[in-house]
Each structure stands twice: as C-alpha cells, then as structure tokens.
C-alpha cells in the first residue's frame, strides 16, 4: 500500500515558566492512502499536539519541533517555511476541530468560509465558488443549502456547524483530513450521523483520515488502524482488530477494562486506572505508565521498553513482551475479548531503532 504520510521520531516540546514540557517524545507512524488511523489517549498524552504539528499549527515559540521528520507526499513538512505551509494547509491537509463554534468565524457567512478555500487554493472565481459551496453543503447533508449558504454560524445547530466545518475542510479535496475529536461535543445520534457522513465521504473521495478521540466506541466504528498514546509516546499500534481483540500493552488493557460494557449486566466495580497521567516537564524515567501500572516490573521504572513487533502491523512498547518477562494475566474484562489472531508471529520481535 502507498504511504501518504510518514512521521518519524517526532519530538515536540513547549517552553513554559515551569520548564520544558516534552509533549511529544519520539512518535513514529505512517498513514496509507485512503485509510483511517485513530489516535487514542487521554488529555495530555500528546495526541492533539502530534496532529497540530503535522499541520504546523504549533505556536513557535513557545513550541518547538526538537527532532524528527514529517514526510507528506514525499516532502518533509518540518523543513517548510510558514509561507510554503500556507499553500499546503487547507489544500492538501484539511482539519476538523472539536468545537465547531469557536473554529468557524462568527462574523462570516458559512458560504463565504467555504468559498474562501475555493478562491484561494483552487483559484475559482466567485460565482463558481458559490455554486461549489452549495454543492458541498448538500454533500455533507445540510438541507436547503441555497438558503443556508447565506447564513451565519450562529444560525446553525451544533451538528450542522460540524457539518459545515467538514464542508470547509473538504472543499479543496484534501489528501489528508485530520479530525481532532470531531464528535466529542455532539449528542450520540448526531455523532452517529457525522461518523456515517465521514465514512461515506471517504469512500467517495479516497481521503486519508487521522481521527483523534478518546472514545473507544468511536474508534471501533471508524478506524482501520489504531495508535494508543500515553505520556507523549505511542505505546501500542495495530489494526483495529489487533487492538480490540489482542491488546498487549497494560495501558490499552486499562482503557478497555475501565469502560462498562453495554451488553453485560455486570455491576462489579470498574477496573479504574489508578492515579493520574505524569507531568511531562519531568518525564518519568523508564516506562511512563509504570507508576499507574499494576503489572509494572522493576525494569519498567529504570529502562524504557523497546517496541516489540507482534505481527506485521501490530506493535507494543512494554517489557511484558520480553522473553524473560513473567507470564501475566490481563484483567478479566480484557480476557473476555481475547482471540487468537493468525497473523501473529510465534514470538514478539524487538524492533531496532532504525525501523
């Protein structure tokens, strides 16, 4: 499969009064054409910073890309000047934000905000742009687009605004769409509509999507592959089936076990992950998850675990996969999910740095 985006060993930090916050600490992943990668993690895990760095939306200073490459379409975005980025941002890469009220301009008609993309990036003239804007609004499922195109964001409901945002992001047929918690602020029924819309549009346009969320239900619904982030690192990555049916990292176990299941009547206590995420001004030595990890071994507090490869597509960074590690049982709620996947290697393999 053809790679559209490849992020290599990305490190981003912010200079604050309290010291340097290492928000992203060596993240590597790739995205194929036409696929959806979900990035999961809690607030502060670096998932939003990663995606904003791809768009080069990190304010510098205080932010700084310390290391790494972002290869998009064969070019390294890290080396681009702000001027060069302007031609890519909004054209080849579109973005949808969590809060549609603050990301649409309240003083501009919705139609105008879509037309702006078309006239600027695709050099359309005004009347053609308006035609296309109406078409786009219809495409994202807004009724009476001829009337809606002349309305302001405040005249739209939350779900409608998010649709308008999607129309803006898709106006220039971007190759990559970054959706940062696009449905978190919406009701479940509206969320379902937006997810269906995004999948439908992806089928039609072949756009690749990076979908950032903390809702594992949404992940199961939209993703082809999943990356789980914790404390500025990817701790596990694999296809959606590998993550949900054969998770290996204790943090992924914790996430899956802490959610009550809708179809079980089990009322026993939820397996909460104790404690709270680490402070990234002083990132912990060793495995960032170790202090909250009931399975942590002595080595977790001293040495950072390497990436282990469980199958061609499944990676996890935990010492538990080391041949010398003791066999442990995942939590009960996770054990119920486990399945034997045929694509797994007989033994997990340590991945060398260069890969």
């Amino acid at each position: 499969m053809e790679k559209l985006l490849e992020v290599k060993n990305l490190e981003v930090s912010f200079q604050t009064y309290g010291g340097e916050v290492q928000a992203v600490r060596g993240v590597s992943f790739h995205l194929n054409k036409g696929e959806t990668l979900a990035i999961v993690g809690e607030s502060g895990s670096g998932k939003s910073v990663t995606s904003q760095t791809i768009m080069r939306l990190i304010p510098t200073p205080p932010g700084r890309i310390k290391n790494g490459q972002i290869i998009f379409n064969g070019e390294d975005l890290v080396k681009k000047t702000d001027k060069e980025m302007e031609a890519i941002r909004g054209k080849d890469i579109g973005m949808i934000f969590q809060d549609p009220m603050t990301s649409l301009n309240p003083t501009m008609k919705v139609g105008h905000q879509i037309m702006e993309v078309l006239t600027k990036h695709l050099k359309m003239d005004k009347s053609a742009a308006k035609e296309r804007a109406i078409e786009l609004l219809r495409l994202v499922g807004i009724p009476m687009p001829e009337k809606r195109v002349n309305q302001y964001p405040h005249e739209f409901s939350g779900g409608m605004r998010q649709r308008a945002m999607i129309a803006v992001a898709l106006a220039s047929n971007p190759k990559l769409l970054i959706a940062d918690e696009p449905t978190t602020a919406l009701d479940v029924t509206i969320q379902a509509q937006i997810l269906e819309l995004m999948k439908d549009l992806q089928k039609k346009t072949g756009t690749s999507i990076i979908f950032i969320t903390h809702d594992l239900g949404v992940v199961a619904n939209v993703a082809d592959r999943v990356a789980v982030m914790y404390a500025g690192k990817i701790v596990e990555m694999g296809t959606v089936d590998e993550i949900f049916y054969d998770p290996r990292h204790p943090y992924t176990w914790g996430l899956l076990a802490s959610m009550p299941s809708l179809d079980s009547d089990d009322k026993s206590e939820l397996a909460a992950i104790p404690g709270s995420p680490p402070d990234l001004t002083n990132p912990p030595k060793g495995d960032g998850f170790a202090p909250r990890n009931p399975y942590a071994m002595k080595i977790d507090f001293e040495l950072e675990p390497p990436m282990f490869k469980i199958s061609d597509t499944h990676y996890a960074a935990t010492w538990l996969l080391h041949p010398d590690a003791p066999k442990v049982e995942p939590p009960e709620a996770v054990k119920k999910r486990l399945r034997k996947l045929s694509s797994n290697y007989p033994q997990p393999i340590i991945v060398k740095e260069s890969e």
Partner: protein, 312 residues
C-alpha cells in the same frame, strides 16, 4: 425489593422559560416520576431535552412553572420560612459537570468544602471543622495536605472529588449529579464512578444521575428515564430498558451508541427516530402508561394496546 420508600416525587413538573418576543421555551413539559430511597435514577437524553433543567428544578434552583416536587413528602417549591428552606437544602446537594467552573478559584479547598458546614453550623469549634474537612478529603480519596491548596492546583478528576466532598459535607440524603464525569478522561471517569458507588453503599445515598454517556448510565443506575423534548418518553429498570426498549426514540438512541467492538460496529444498523412516525390523530392523549411492571412508556391509548400485545 419489597417495600420501596419514595424519597422524591415529581408530579407533572413543568418548567417554561420566557425568552422574550412572546416566545416560551418549554424546557420541561409535564414530567412525572419517583425516586426511591437508596436507588440511582439515571436521566438520559440529547442536549436540550430538559434533563439538566429537570435536575435543577428538583433541587430548587429554578422555581417550577407548575407541578410539584416532594422531598420526603414536603414540597420543595413554594413559600417557606428560611429555617425550613435551610433544612431542606441540607438534605439535597448537587455535583456539577464542569469541575473547573464550579469551584471558587479564590477559596482554599478547606473553605470550599466547609462552606456548607459553616452555613448550617455543623461544627462547634475550629478544630472540629477542620477534622470534618480532613475526613471528607480522605473519604473522596484525597489527603489532608490538600486542604490549604487552591482549585487551580488540581487536575479535573481531583476537582470533581473536591466537588463531591463539598456535596457530602452537609450529610445529604439525596445528590443530583449533573453530568459529573463528562468532562473527565476515560481512565479517570471510572475512578469517580467507583467512588460514587462506594459512597452510596456506605452512606445510603440516593442519586439522580444525569448524563448522555449511556453505557456509564446503565452501569451506575438502577432505573433509567429517557427524555425527549421536555417529556419523559420511557422509564424502566436499567437492564430492562437496554434489553427491551419500547419507545421508538429509545430504540434510536440505543442504536446510535458506538460500542468498543469492531465486529459489531461493522454490521451495526442505526434506526432513525422521526416524531411523525407515531401518526397521532387530533385529540389523542399521550400519557405515561405502564406496559410491563415497572416499565413506563409515553404513548397514546392505541399504542398502549399495541405495546401491551407485543411486550407482555
């Protein structure tokens, strides 16, 4: 459960807001339900359906437009002496959604928690007051060193614990939790829900749990009410509601929840609710009727007969 004692009785509660230009928003439009002692009633629905307004009216933050709310047989609304009001307010407390906006940033944690203790004169001496604060902090999983800090020094989950400690300070019988976990991370949500369940067991609290995360509501609630446009459309025991939803809106709502299981997600079919599908005739009366024991649905006489046939 044999004899269930009613703690809260909500009778045909209406809350209309005048928004000017002669327009009235009927946020809550005739809601009737009871909450039994020691149970958790979940209230779900989309934003704007009136679930938060219902909670706020029950506790008396709004004066009801019409209808009644009885707490232990005593009406919450209407004229009361300040003494009566004080005793009533002590028994009902609220936990809010936003742990950032609901704590006064200029007060220390000790003062925030002890405010209720001071108002109701529950501590005779300074030492007793602080002792209570320390106890409460430990109850909610914080420690006594936190008492002299300010809210900004805490994370969202810790702040929500402070909010819970504040609610517990006056030893209430009934707590309204309005989306208490929506603003928290997944890994922290479970901690707060576990804490709330433990407190309920230990102190025999009664909860009204308002939320839109249906899987969490199902987990914590004994019974669940579904609201749609200011009315309650269905009320049943949690398991029953999920297994046998009757009202088409409940069915649509349940079918929209994405589950953390890729295989079921691939084949999931969503049902869509269209209010016109009922085809109500002119003059048909919609009432809350009991289809199977303890399972109520808002329906017309005709639908009632139909549901009765199918489900019982």
């Amino acid at each position: 459960m044999a004899e269930k004692q009613k703690l809260i009785e909500v009778k045909n509660l209406k809350q209309h807001f005048n928004v000017g230009h002669g327009q009235v928003v009927k946020a809550v439009d005739g809601v009737t339900f009871d909450i039994y002692k020691g149970e958790t009633l979940g209230l779900v629905g989309e934003s704007g359906c009136g679930k938060s307004t219902t909670g706020r009216t029950i506790i008396g933050l709004y004066e009801a437009t019409s209808g009644e709310v009885l707490f232990n047989g005593v009406s919450v609304h209407g004229k009361k002496s300040s003494k009566e009001l004080k005793t009533l307010k002590r028994k009902m407390q609220m936990i809010f959604q936003d742990p950032y906006a609901s704590l006064n940033p200029r007060m220390t944690v000790a003062d925030i928690i002890a405010e209720g203790i001071d108002i109701h004169g529950l501590a005779k001496t300074k030492e007793e007051r602080m002792k209570r604060v320390y106890e409460l902090l430990e109850t909610v999983g914080l420690n006594r060193e936190h008492a002299n800090r300010y809210p900004h020094e805490f994370s969202g989950g810790q702040r929500q614990r402070i909010g819970i400690a504040r609610a517990l300070a006056v030893e209430p019988e009934f707590i309204i939790a309005d989306e208490p976990i929506s603003a928290l991370d997944v890994s922290i949500q479970a901690q707060v829900v576990n804490l709330m369940k433990r407190l309920q067991r230990e102190k025999g609290l009664t909860y009204l749990f308002i939320a839109h995360d249906l899987s969490m509501v199902k987990y914590i609630s004994d019974r669940i009410g579904v609201m749609y446009f200011g009315r309650m459309v269905e009320l049943a025991e949690a398991e029953e509601l999920y297994r046998n939803p009757i009202h088409p809106y409940t069915k649509a709502l349940l079918s929209a929840i994405p589950l953390p299981d890729p295989e079921t997600e691939r084949v999931r079919r969503r049902t869509i609710y269209d209010p016109s599908q009922h085809n109500y005739k002119e003059g048909e009366v919609l009432e809350f009727r009991e289809i199977t024991p303890g399972h109520f649905v808002l329906c017309s006489e005709e639908e009632y007969k139909k549901y009765k046939e199918i489900y019982s």
